[in-house]
């Protein structure tokens, strides 16, 4: 498991054209210093990359293997073929969870990205108290998710939260009972999730916007472009890598959403707000079915590849095109 940063990795090492230049400059230095200078980057770079790669592949491989075994409370290496998969696919919990994942995923990603971008653009308008606003939008991430889920559960509960408050202010017919409505409860998770994550999306967008070269702005302003046009034509194209980062982060957030639901709805009313991560945990640790839970986890990751593979394909295509066009 220990990554080997030694010569074996050299052929795949960064194709540094720097050493040539460095060598020219360092001609006067002793050979050993030169060697260190050449190898140090590899020594520093490869271990973390390798640890990451081994962690991802190793753990995924282990889980995949477990998913074909009869493991219950403890890992057990008796092979059972696809039995765990069929059991998970046939369970109501899993069917509800996958449907919910689509609704929640789409709602959450769109809402959070939109909110995050909007807030970043608003904050970028050289406003006073920027630091305060930014901290207010970010703080939901600071509080333990178990806690924020609980607080939202109170606020969204019709008998003690917002509905009661609005009614007590005189609007007697006001209804806001999504939390206890089987059809609508999943949207309360969208709201609470967006509340929690949009600040971070804002921070990422803001980091991107602030890194756009000031000259580009000036040039656009000189051309007489309005602020809306500058954002659309100059800023947004320049920060597309940030969009990718935000989408990946939100996607992983969607897939891994766990604490929030556990505290907000507990998967209810009934089992109406089950999500795959809850099913995985429930199978593995509540029901003591490690094999079956692993099968659910593997299917969760496979569904993810449906999104990621086209993305990497697109990246490849884009890179090739860029290379061709110089």
């Amino acid at each position: 498991m220990t990554p080997d940063p030694g010569p074996a990795t050299a052929p795949a090492a960064p194709a540094l054209d720097a050493p040539r230049a460095a060598a020219r400059r360092a001609a006067a230095r002793p050979a050993w210093r030169d060697a260190i200078g050449r190898w140090l980057p590899h020594l520093v770079l490869w271990p973390p990359l390798l640890v990451s790669v081994v962690h991802v592949l190793g753990f995924t491989g282990y889980t995949t293997w477990m998913s074909f075994t009869a493991s219950t409370l403890m890992p057990d290496y008796e092979w059972v073929g696809l039995r765990n998969y069929t059991a998970v696919l046939n369970s109501r919990n899993w069917q509800i969870a996958t449907d919910n994942l689509l609704i929640y995923g789409a709602g959450f990603v769109v809402l959070t990205t939109a909110l995050g971008l909007l807030l970043a653009v608003l904050i970028d308008q050289r406003v006073r108290g920027e630091n305060l606003f930014r901290t207010i939008y970010l703080y939901p991430m600071a509080v333990s998710f178990v806690v924020t889920g609980t607080v939202w559960a109170w606020l969204l509960n019709p008998s003690i939260g917002i509905q009661r408050l609005v009614r007590s202010m005189g609007w007697g017919g006001f209804r806001f009972d999504w939390l206890v409505d089987r059809e609508m409860a999943i949207y309360t998770i969208v709201i609470a999730g967006a509340w929690q994550a949009s600040g971070f999306a804002m921070a990422l967008f803001l980091a991107g916007i602030r890194s756009v070269d000031a000259d580009l702005y000036k040039a656009a302003q000189v051309d007489g472009a309005g602020p809306w046009r500058i954002y659309r034509r100059v800023v947004l194209p320049a920060i597309w890598p940030i969009f990718i980062a935000v989408l990946v982060i939100l996607l992983q957030y969607t897939i891994k959403t766990f604490d929030l639901v556990r505290a907000l709805t507990g998967g209810g009313p009934g089992i109406a707000t089950q999500l795959p991560a809850l099913v995985v945990y429930d199978l593995m640790f509540q029901r003591g079915l490690l094999g079956r839970g692993s099968a659910a986890a593997v299917m969760m990751l496979l569904s993810l590849l449906l999104v990621l593979v086209p993305y990497f394909g697109f990246m490849r295509w884009r890179r090739h095109r860029e290379a061709r066009h110089g």
Partner: protein, 284 residues
């Protein structure tokens, strides 16, 4: 321009304030509960105004509430969390910046595959990795140590930090690097002199992410530590309840606020690195 109140600017401030209000409502509930007595909350509702101010909740939460027979509040657990979160955040951020730099600016054969696999790492749910991590920590002899938790958070965190940094660094023009290479700068010199000065916004984003996630992580914290070594999230949960007990919402809310302070301070003080001009200035 910032001082003239045109209708557009009024609208901007109105929107900012409106959103701020929306974001603050849940915090308000927690703050109000933190100064309410348990009887007050129990007898009325968890959403409401205090009948009398009970600031004692903070004192109890910090230093005298009994968690597992240790009546020291959450303060010792806060310290445990610091011991875990500070090294894990620094190491994972640093490694992520290096990884991102090499993946974005020093293309090598298979770099896309490496990046793809590392990115996949952000999607692995921690529930799935609990058993493998148990085995790894056992084999390394790190069960029930804070070092074990640091290791977990660094390894998992590299996926996120690499993703953030790599995507940010791809926006750095290749011309800058070429010029530096012609000047004879090597791998670390370019990183140190060119890339790092451009990095504060993304590094603060990375630190925010790592710090809050490690600080708030619960599952590994309770599984891989014991008793007096547990992080603060474990103590926060311990303040809340099981089936058979009425929640101590007052003390709990106070504890939640105290426990959130370090993260809030990171946001507040880290925020100044977002200021525009820094990057533009550095590039020139």
């Amino acid at each position: 321009m910032a001082d003239r109140l045109t209708p557009a600017r009024v609208l901007i401030y109105a929107l900012l304030a409106g959103f701020a209000a929306f974001y603050l409502v849940p915090l308000l509930v927690v703050v109000l509960n933190s100064v309410r007595t348990a009887e007050d909350i129990g007898a009325t509702s968890v959403v409401g105004l205090p009948r009398e101010l009970a600031f004692g909740n903070f004192e109890r939460a910090w230093g005298s509430y009994c968690i597992a027979r240790r009546c020291e509040g959450i303060s010792p657990y806060m310290w445990n969390s610091f011991l875990m979160v500070v090294p894990a955040t620094i190491i994972s951020t640093l490694l992520g910046a290096l990884n991102g730099y090499s993946l974005a600016l020093w293309r090598f054969r298979g770099d896309n595959w490496v990046f793809g696999i590392i990115t996949l790492g952000v999607f692995l749910p921690e529930q799935m990795k609990l058993v493998p991590w148990t085995l790894v920590l056992r084999d390394l002899g790190l069960t029930n140590t804070i070092a074990g938790l640091v290791l977990i958070h660094v390894v998992q965190g590299i996926s996120f930090t690499t993703l953030f940094c790599r995507n940010y660094y791809t926006a750095i023009p290749q011309e800058l690097l070429k010029a530096a290479k012609i000047d004879g700068a090597g791998f670390f010199r370019i990183f140190w002199r060119i890339v790092l000065p451009l990095s504060p916004p993304i590094l603060i984003v990375t630190v925010i992410w790592q710090f809050t996630h490690i600080w708030n992580e619960f599952l590994y914290g309770v599984t891989f530590t014991s008793g007096a070594q547990q992080p603060v999230t474990a103590a926060l949960i311990a303040l809340s309840v099981s089936v058979s007990e009425a929640p101590q919402y007052g003390v709990q809310s106070a504890a939640v606020l105290i426990a959130a302070l370090p993260t809030l301070l990171v946001y507040l003080f880290g925020g100044k690195y977002f200021v525009r001009g820094l990057t533009a200035g550095a590039v020139k």
